[in-house]
C-alpha cells in the first residue's frame, strides 16, 4: 500500500461508491442534491463525472417516496444507495424501511430481496440542534431484517460500504458527520470488509471499552491516557450494530472483567443497554464489577455551544468512568484528567477535534 493512500473517510466513501458502481451496473445512487457541488461533504465527489447522471438520481424532497421507490427498484434487481444528509430525514421513511425493506424477504418466503443501502449522517456541532443531531442506530437495530453499520475508520468506511452494497439485505449505514474528516490508510480497488462484527482495536487486560463510530476515537484517546498510568485498556469498535455479534466483546470481558460502553445515541434503550444486557447474561461470572454505560444525557441535543459543552461523552468522561470502575488511584488519574481537560479547553466545542483527523 503506497503512502499516498492516506485518505479521508469522505474520500474513502466516494472511492467505495465508485468501485461498487464500476463493478456492478445495477448499483446507482439516489438523494436530494446528489449531483450538487457540495457532493455530500465530498462523499459523492467525482461520481457524476465518472458514471454520468444515469447512475446518479436526483430526488425530490420526499423521503418516504424515495425509500419506497428504492425498495421497489431493489426488489426488481437494482442496488440503490440512498444518501440522506441527516438521520432525521429517514424518520419520514420508517414505514418503508421497517415494513417493506426489512420484511420483503421474510414475507415472500425468501423470494423477494431488497438489497439497498441507506446512508444517514449524524450532525454534530456548529449549532445543529435537536433535529439535526440524533444518532438513532438502536431504533433501526430493533428490526429483524435490517442490517445497521457504523464504520469508524476510513478503510472500514470503504470496505463496509462495498460489502453493504453487495449484501442482499437492506443496510443502514450511519456516519457521524465529524468522521468525514478522519484520515487513514485505505486500500486501492474493490475490497470488502465483512459486516461480521466488532474489532478489537487496542488490546488490554484491565477493562473493556465498547464504542461506536466517533465515540471509538474518544475511547482510543482515553485508552492512550490511561496507558500512561499503567492501566491496560481494551478498546472494541462495534462496527455492526445489527445483526449483533458480541462474541469478541464477551471474550474481552472474560479477560478484563470490566465493561464500559460508550454510545453515540441516547443511553436509555440504546446500544449500550443491549451490550450490557448480553454481557450480563453471557459473562456474568467474569464480571468483577457492575458494567457502566456512557452516552449523551437523556434530553434533546441543544444548539448553543453553551449548552452542549457537557453533552457528548469524551476522553475525560471515559477516564473518570474507568477510574470509578477500577477504583484507580485518584492521585494518578488527576494528572491525566488535568492534561485532558486542559487540552480540550484549547479547542472549540463545536468543531471536530484535530486529534481525530488521524491518520489512523
Amino acid at each position: 500500500m503506497p503512502d499516498n493512500r492516506n485518505l479521508s473517510y469522505a474520500e474513502a466513501i466516494s472511492e467505495g461508491l465508485k468501485e461498487a458502481m464500476a463493478h456492478d451496473d445495477s448499483v446507482f445512487i439516489m438523494g436530494q442534491g446528489i449531483s450538487d457541488p457540495s457532493s455530500y461533504w465530498g462523499t459523492t465527489a467525482g461520481i457524476i463525472d465518472q458514471f454520468g447522471v444515469d447512475r446518479v438520481m436526483e430526488m425530490p424532497v420526499a423521503e418516504n417516496g424515495m425509500v419506497g421507490i428504492a425498495v421497489g427498484a431493489a426488489m426488481s434487481g437494482q442496488r440503490p444507495v440512498i444518501c440522506l444528509h441527516r438521520v432525521e430525514f429517514s424518520l419520514l421513511a420508517i414505514e418503508q424501511i421497517v415494513n417493506n425493506a426489512a420484511k420483503a424477504h421474510y414475507v415472500s418466503n425468501g423470494v423477494h430481496r431488497s438489497p439497498l443501502v441507506i446512508r444517514m449522517v449524524v450532525g454534530r456541532g456548529w449549532g445543529q440542534g435537536p433535529e439535526h443531531a440524533q444518532s438513532l442506530e438502536s431504533v433501526f437495530s430493533h428490526f429483524p431484517g435490517l442490517k445497521v453499520i457504523m464504520p469508524t475508520f476510513p478503510d472500514d468506511a470503504k470496505g463496509m460500504l462495498i460489502a453493504a452494497i453487495q449484501d442482499d439485505n437492506p443496510v443502514i449505514m450511519i456516519e457521524n458527520r465529524w468522521l468525514h474528516y478522519v484520515n487513514g490508510n485505505v486500500d486501492e480497488g474493490l475490497y470488502l470488509k465483512p459486516l461480521d462484527g466488532p474489532r478489537v482495536i487496542a488490546e488490554g487486560t484491565d477493562v473493556t471499552l465498547v464504542a461506536t463510530s466517533y465515540m471509538t476515537l474518544e475511547a482510543m484517546r482515553a485508552a492512550d491516557y490511561l496507558r500512561e498510568i499503567g492501566c491496560s485498556v481494551e478498546v472494541v469498535d462495534l462496527r455492526v450494530i445489527r445483526p449483533l455479534n458480541l462474541e469478541p466483546v464477551f471474550e474481552s470481558v472474560r479477560k478484563t472483567g470490566h465493561l464500559v460502553t460508550i454510545d453515540s445515541g441516547w443511553v436509555t434503550y440504546g446500544v449500550g443497554s443491549e451490550i450490557v444486557a448480553s454481557v450480563a447474561e453471557n459473562c456474568f461470572s467474569s464480571l468483577k464489577a457492575p458494567p457502566l454505560r456512557l452516552g449523551p444525557p437523556d434530553h434533546p441535543t441543544p444548539s448553543s455551544r453553551g449548552l452542549i459543552a457537557d453533552y457528548y461523552p469524551n476522553d475525560v468522561k471515559i477516564i473518570k468512568a474507568v477510574e470509578r470502575l477500577l477504583q484507580l488511584d485518584g492521585e494518578k488519574v488527576r494528572g491525566l484528567l488535568d492534561a485532558a481537560i486542559e487540552r480540550n479547553k484549547q479547542l472549540p466545542i463545536d468543531v471536530a477535534d484535530p486529534f481525530f483527523k488521524g491518520p489512523f
Binding site: 417516496g65 426488481s76 434487481g77 414505514e95 424477504h105 414475507v107 431484517g145
Partner: protein, 323 residues
C-alpha cells in the same frame, strides 16, 4: 373506443365470473374458521381487476393492497396457492407467512400485495424505474383504493413518476368508502382525478363496473407507458358489496344505505356484461353455465388442495429473516 375481439370478451367475462365464484366460495367456507386471517373481498369490483389485467402482458407487473384477491387472480396468480395461503398452509404463495393481505406470485407478474395503505405505490414506481434503467419495456400497475390518495406517499410517488415519465399506471378503485368512512368525510368535494392533474399526469376516468371500458382505457395507458410517454392515473368508479373485512353483508350497520347498495348491486359488472354479450350474440346461451361448472371444479379442487395441505413446519418460522 378500442375494438374488443370475441375471444377477449369471452376471456374477460369468464375471468370475472371465476373471481366472483372464488370469492363466494370463500364466503361460504369462512365460517368454518379454517381460513384464520383477515380477508378483504373484491365482490362487486371484478371489472377493474379484469379489465386492467387484460391490457397487460405476463411480464408486466402488478402491486396491490389488502384487497388483492381479484388483482392476483386476474394477473394469473395461482388459485391453489392463494387459497393455501389464506388457510395458512406451507403450500401458500408465501408459505403461510402473510395470509390474504400479503399475496404474491411474481412468476405471473403479481409482485406483491402490501397491506399498509399506499405503501405499495412507491414500490410500483421503483419497479418501473428499474425497468426503465434496464431498458425493459414492461409496464407496472399499482392498484389502490380511494383512501390511498389521502396518504402523502401517493403524491410523492406520482410526482416522481411524472417527472421521470416512468412506465407505471396508478389505478384507483373508487368504491366510496374507507372501511366504514365515506369519501365526503375524508376529502373535499372535487373530482378525485384533479389530484393527478397537480402532477401533470395523463388522466383517464371510467366506469369500473364496465370491463370493456376499463380494458380500453387501460390499453391506452399501457401503450403510452410502453412507448415511453409516461405514467397515467386511472380512476374507476366501483363498489364493494360486502363488509370491508370479512365475508358478510353489513348494510344493516347503517354506515351506507340499502338503497345505495341496491343501486350498485344493479350495476353488477359480471351480470351486466353477460347480458350485454348475450344480447349482442357474442356469448352463446349455455356457455356461462359450462364455464361455471369448469370453474366450480377448479375451485373445489383448489379448496381441497388448500385444506389438506400441511401447516408449515414450525422450525421454518425463522428462515428468510436475512437473505
Amino acid at each position: 373506443m378500442l375494438e374488443t375481439s370475441l375471444s377477449e370478451q369471452a376471456e374477460m367475462l369468464r375471468e370475472m365470473l371465476r373471481i366472483r365464484l372464488v370469492e363466494e366460495a370463500i364466503v361460504d367456507r369462512y365460517g368454518e374458521n379454517e381460513m384464520r386471517c383477515p380477508v378483504h373481498l373484491s365482490i362487486g369490483q371484478e371489472g377493474v381487476a379484469v379489465g386492467v389485467s387484460a391490457a397487460l402482458r405476463r411480464e408486466d407487473k402488478v402491486f396491490s393492497t389488502h384487497r388483492a384477491h381479484a388483482h392476483y387472480l386476474a394477473k394469473g396468480g395461482s388459485l391453489k396457492k392463494m387459497l393455501a395461503e389464506i388457510y395458512g398452509k406451507a403450500e401458500g404463495c408465501v408459505g403461510g407467512r402473510g395470509g390474504s393481505m400479503h399475496l404474491m406470485d411474481p412468476d405471473e407478474g403479481f409482485v406483491a400485495g402490501i397491506p399498509i395503505v399506499s405503501s405499495g405505490i412507491p414500490l410500483a414506481v421503483g419497479s418501473a424505474l428499474a425497468d426503465k434503467r434496464t431498458r425493459k419495456d414492461n409496464v407496472t400497475v399499482t392498484f389502490f383504493g380511494d383512501a390511498s390518495v389521502e396518504e402523502g406517499v401517493f403524491h410523492e410517488s406520482m410526482n416522481f413518476a411524472a417527472l421521470h415519465k416512468l412506465p407505471v399506471l396508478f389505478v384507483c378503485e373508487q368504491n366510496l368508502y374507507s372501511v366504514y368512512t365515506p369519501l365526503r368525510e375524508r376529502q373535499p368535494d372535487r373530482p378525485l382525478s384533479d389530484l393527478a392533474r397537480g402532477h401533470a399526469m395523463n388522466i383517464l376516468s371510467g366506469n369500473g363496473n364496465d370491463v370493456e371500458e376499463v380494458y380500453a382505457l387501460s390499453t391506452e395507458a399501457v401503450e403510452k407507458a410502453r412507448n415511453g410517454d409516461g405514467p397515467s392515473f386511472l380512476l374507476f368508479d366501483t363498489y364493494r358489496w360486502r363488509e370491508h373485512c370479512g365475508p358478510n353483508y353489513d348494510n344493516h350497520l347503517g354506515y351506507r344505505s340499502e338503497q345505495e347498495f341496491q343501486e350498485w348491486r344493479a350495476l353488477c359488472p359480471v351480470e351486466n356484461y353477460r347480458n350485454k354479450l348475450l344480447a349482442s350474440k357474442c356469448l352463446q346461451p349455455g356457455q356461462e353455465e359450462t364455464w361455471a361448472a369448469e370453474i366450480d371444479a377448479e375451485i373445489s379442487e383448489a379448496f381441497e388442495f388448500a385444506r389438506s395441505a400441511p401447516l408449515p413446519d414450525i422450525e421454518s418460522a425463522s428462515l428468510f429473516t436475512y437473505a
